[in-house]
């Protein structure tokens, strides 16, 4: 039990180009560009991805629930199965469970949606955990306070950027990891596992840079939509997802061209 297998990139021309760039010593920006170009077809369907849209919609509901008088009830209304006074890890667990329940029997589940679900858990943990100083033993009031602060224009931008930066990194690494570890060893692109690890980190940094574009518009979108429509619907979230993913893809393509 517990068996895991690792795969390779397909032997098609576009993916072998990515492999050749990794082997040839290309930088993260160029590899990200080639990867996103090869995977573009998959990204085009992002706005229709039920898991991704549900994740982003739920993320928008957290700060709004925290602004309500009753935090627990606010989260329950959004579909999270939590107690009346939830701590951070309870919210994180319930968040993931809520998406699983929404995609019951895997209807509409994709790897992209799955990666979004994981990225959201990680963002919540990192952003809220660092503000409450600890993951464990936090009071519900502390957690509510930290989430409610995300409802401002600036703070939601930071929250959204962190999420998209993780998602972008996961997506790029989802492909690139199928090739990178084949180029470790003496006389290879990466002499040691440490060098391979550095490359993976650099890919993360590049993803974070590319996600800066999200920070520029997400806060405004959140505040405006919430103000004008008195809440954010799944349809609103789908529209935001479409724009955000498009901007990320463009940024990854442009980024490699301009930061050289």
């Amino acid at each position: 039990m517990g068996h895991v297998r690792l795969g390779n990139l397909p032997r098609t021309r576009k993916w072998q180009q990515v492999v050749a760039l990794i082997e040839g010593g290309a930088g993260t920006a160029q590899i990200a560009n080639a990867t996103i170009t090869a995977a573009e077809q998959g990204f085009k369907l992002a706005a229709e991805d039920k898991g991704l849209v549900e994740t982003i919609w739920l993320l928008t509901q957290l700060p709004l629930a925290a602004r309500a008088d009753d935090f627990g009830q606010g989260l329950q209304s959004a579909g999270l199965d939590v107690s009346d006074s939830p701590g951070l890890m309870e919210v994180v667990g319930a968040f993931s469970d809520a998406i699983d329940k929404k995609l019951t029997n895997n209807g509409g589940r994709t790897d992209l949606g799955e990666m979004a679900q994981m990225a959201a858990s990680e963002t919540m943990t990192q952003i809220i955990g660092s503000r409450t100083q600890s993951l464990f033993g936090t009071t519900s009031d502390d957690v509510k306070d930290a989430f409610s602060k995300l409802a401002t224009n600036k703070q939601f931008s930071i929250f959204a950027r962190d999420f998209f930066s993780r998602l972008t990194n996961k997506c790029l690494d989802y492909f690139v990891s199928k090739a990178v570890s084949h180029h470790v060893g003496e006389g290879r692109r990466f002499r040691t596992l440490a060098q391979q690890g550095e490359f993976t980190k650099a890919l993360g940094t590049h993803s974070r840079e590319a996600s800066k574009i999200i920070e520029e518009f997400s806060g405004g979108w959140f505040s405006k939509t919430n103000w004008e429509k008195k809440g954010i619907s799944r349809q609103d979230a789908a529209g935001f997802t479409h724009v955000a993913m498009k901007k990320i893809v463009t940024e990854l393509k442009e980024g490699a061209q301009t930061d050289g």
């Binding site: 039990m1 517990g2 068996h3 895991v4 297998r5 690792l6 795969g7 993916w15 180009q17 760039l21 040839g24 010593g25 930088g27 560009n33 080639a34 170009t37 995977a39 077809q41 998959g42 701590g87 951070l88 890890m89 309870e90 994180v92 667990g93 968040f95 993931s96 699983d100 029997n105 895997n106 209807g107 589940r109 994709t110 790897d111 679900q117 994981m118 990225a119 858990s121 943990t125 990192q126 955990g129 993951l135 464990f136 033993g137 690494d173 989802y174 492909f175 990891s177 199928k178 570890s181 084949h182 470790v184 060893g185 003496e186 002499r191 040691t192 596992l193 391979q196 061209q257 050289g260």
Partner: protein, 696 residues
């Protein structure tokens, strides 16, 4: 969704299937078309009473699901569509004894919820009445001491640890249910039982289950639903002994199975004993039996190292070498029982070394030594790299970093008893302990093999060479001269390995996949202001690449163009011969006269026809003429060469445009001229080098 299939199980009709498919998968456990057989070794003859019909259904449903899981492929790795085909959509129509029960809520919902999480597929079930019951054997009374515990025994180290804990350390009466996927393990299982029986106060009862199926039904290796079959068999046995519990024994790291690589998404990391699955099984069995039924994993908070430690402390270290962890059973021989390269082998060997149980797990049983064995390219090396890198990272992570990196861990929090905070802390500590065991094994091995690493005596692809840079180990810090810093030139275009490296104006270097156009471009860039004809460039590039060309053709062959002028001598004559040209021109004169006459007679129809004919002849003559009005030749080699060189350079420029916009903008007309002659004339006296360093 493309990966859909209907599965007809037993004697059922294929009417009104939900998917448009020509040939549904038919599975039969009995009858003339039998293609699956379930042999629960001696359940029917050894046990005290009949299997309850609902549990009989359960075992058959689990068998059908398990067989369909192996018969329907997951459609490749799905790189281009984010794994769309990985998740299959399966419709089962199954003949059962209790269709109303199985079609009712909550049982059907629980079944779907559990299976869909376990294998990440979409399940639909239609249970129909089993009309013809298979002949059942009269069950014999058998003198078996009622056991206290039913456990699932795979023959691996974790389940062995469980058997040792129950039967030896706690002296309990146990039943071990084993699903045997291959006969290759029979001898090792027998030996394990023999050793366990001699160490235990009460001899464990072993119930092996064998499922045989047609060869054509074994197409998919992932077998994510195996633990459902396993649990169903265990629950059925427990039911017959009036027990309300079964136990899986699996270390927590494998139960949670957090991804060791970014490509391992969702159930690509198996969820066989994930707490959510375990709870799902318990719900199904409780509903079936009408009473609370528990499924447990007592090793959830143990690492594999700690499980092995328990086996050794219980005085059963001699059993370790007979436990089988490897999944590559087809590679197994009597002496070499483990491949040493699959994820389980790596996990097992690390745990054995970390638990200081090396002497109980012979080194020669592994195809590849964990630390110093040469690993093949591809998955063997990638698996090791992923495993060790994950441990490296986790060993130094804070709890915040850990949960900020492994979102998958959040999936567990709602499915374990206790507060989410406590559970999260336990998960973090478990993984940190595991990571520290791994890194300690690696650190100790480096210390022991420092000299061999320094002398490069170990294979380059072994773990110790992958984690140590030999050049660093070779020279201590005190005797290391700082490497001379070679300053890179601002503009270079050079070949590196198979690829091209180009740096423009001191920007980041860009790498390009091979294309002959980069050779042409290199010549132009290195000779600013010089004018080349396409033929000249072609000749130079052919000389440059001649070695490659010679190397790429087989012995005895001659390169087609060697020694021959690239312009060649031959052509296929003129596009139009003199006679044709003369005829066209005469006809043009005639048309002019006829046109005048037609216009004078106001004959519009005739003048239109003549205009059309005139236009056609003029275009024919224009197409046939080259520069200066001379008639072109067919298959002119100069044209071919010009096109070939121009196209090659344009292909290279297209690649540059994708990755390096400043350079792409620089290489435009009039700086780069790709007309009748080719030249590169930068305005500011910019120069290019074919090497990266200024010293070169």
């Amino acid at each position: 969704m493309a990966n859909e299939r209907s599965i007809l199980c037993g004697d059922v009709t294929g009417n009104a299937l939900p998917f448009d498919e020509k040939k549904p998968l038919a599975l039969r456990l009995w009858g003339t078309a039998e293609n699956v057989s379930l042999r629960i070794s001696d359940i029917r003859s050894q046990l005290l009473k009949d299997i309850p019909s609902s549990f009989h259904d359960l075992v058959e449903i689990a068998t059908y699901v398990y067989c369909a899981d192996q018969a329907i492929t997951r459609g490749g790795d799905g790189v281009d569509n984010f794994g769309e085909n990985w998740r299959r959509r399966m419709f089962f129509r199954i003949a059962v004894r209790n269709p109303d029960l199985w079609n009712s809520s909550p049982l059907k919902d629980q079944l779907i919820e559990t299976l869909s999480f376990l294998s990440e597929d979409e399940y639909h079930f239609d249970f129909v009445k089993l009309e013809k019951q298979p002949p059942t054997q009269k069950h014999l009374e058998f003198d078996v001491d009622p056991p206290e515990e039913v456990m699932l025994f795979s023959g691996g180290l974790d389940s062995l640890g469980g058997a040792v804990e129950e039967a030896v350390a706690k002296s309990r009466k146990i039943v071990m249910v084993t699903h045997k996927p291959t006969h290759k393990l029979n001898r090792r299982h027998r030996k394990l039982l023999e050793l366990l029986s001699s160490a235990a106060t009460h001899q464990p009862l072993h119930i092996p289950v064998i499922i045989n199926k047609d060869k054509s039904l074994g197409r998919e290796y992932t077998q994510r639903s195996r633990s459902f079959l396993y649990a169903a068999l265990g629950a059925t046995v427990a039911q017959m002994f009036n027990l309300r519990r079964i136990r899986f024994y699996e270390n927590g790291v494998i139960s949670f199975n957090l991804p060791i690589s970014a490509q391992v998404v969702g159930a690509r990391a198996t969820r066989t004993t994930h707490p959510q699955v375990i709870n799902g099984f318990a719900n199904i069995f409780s509903t079936l039996s009408g009473k609370p039924f528990t499924v447990e994993n007592p090793f959830l908070w143990k690492t594999k190292t700690e499980v092995i430690d328990g086996i050794v402390k219980a005085g059963c270290a001699d059993t370790i070498k007979f436990a089988t962890s490897c999944t590559h059973t087809w590679e197994m021989t009597k002496l070499r029982t483990h491949c040493g390269t699959c994820s389980q082998c790596i996990d097992r060997r690390f745990a054995v070394l970390a638990a200081n149980a090396k002497e109980h797990d012979p080194e020669e049983a592994y195809g590849v030594d964990l630390l110093v064995g040469e690993r093949d390219e591809g998955e063997p090396k990638a698996m090791m790299a992923a495993y060790v890198e994950t441990a490296n990272e986790v060993a130094d992570m804070t709890a915040l970093d850990f949960f900020g990196q492994y979102g998958e861990a959040a999936r567990v929090l709602k499915h374990l008893n206790g507060s989410p905070d406590t559970t999260a802390l336990q998960i973090y500590e478990l993984h940190r302990r595991h990571a520290k065991y791994i890194t300690k094994v690696v650190d100790d091995a480096i210390a022991q093999n420092r000299s061999a690493i320094r002398k490069r005596q170990l294979p380059p692809s072994c773990l110790l060479r992958l984690v140590c840079d030999s050049s660093v180990v070779q020279a201590g810090p005190e005797d290391t001269d700082p490497e001379p810093v070679c300053e890179l030139v601002d503009n270079y275009i050079c070949i590196r390995g198979q690829c091209w490296a180009i740096r423009y104006e001191g920007n980041e270097e860009k790498i390009y996949t091979p294309d002959i156009g980069f050779y042409h471009l290199q010549i132009l860039l290195e000779n600013p202001g010089a004018t080349f004809s396409a033929s000249e460039l072609d000749v130079i590039v052919r000389r440059m690449t001649k070695d490659e060309l010679c190397a790429s053709i087989s012995a005895g062959e001659t390169p087609a163009d060697e020694g021959v002028s690239v312009l060649g001598q031959s052509d296929a004559g003129h596009v139009l011969d003199e006679h044709a040209v003369r005829s066209y021109r005469i006809r043009l004169n005639e048309i002019e006269n006829e046109l005048e006459e037609a216009r004078a007679n106001n004959d519009l129809g005739k003048s239109d026809a003549l205009e059309t004919e005139k236009g056609w002849i003029e275009s024919e003559l224009a197409n046939a003429q080259g520069l200066g009005g001379a008639i072109r030749k067919l298959g002119d080699d100069r044209n071919k060469v010009r096109n070939r060189v121009g196209n090659a350079i344009r292909r290279a420029l297209k690649k540059i445009k994708q990755y390096d916009r400043p350079l792409s903008e620089h290489l435009q007309k009039p700086i780069l001229n790709l007309g009748h002659t080719l030249s590169y004339v930068p305005r500011d006296g910019l120069t290019w080098s074919s090497t990266t360093n200024q010293n070169n």
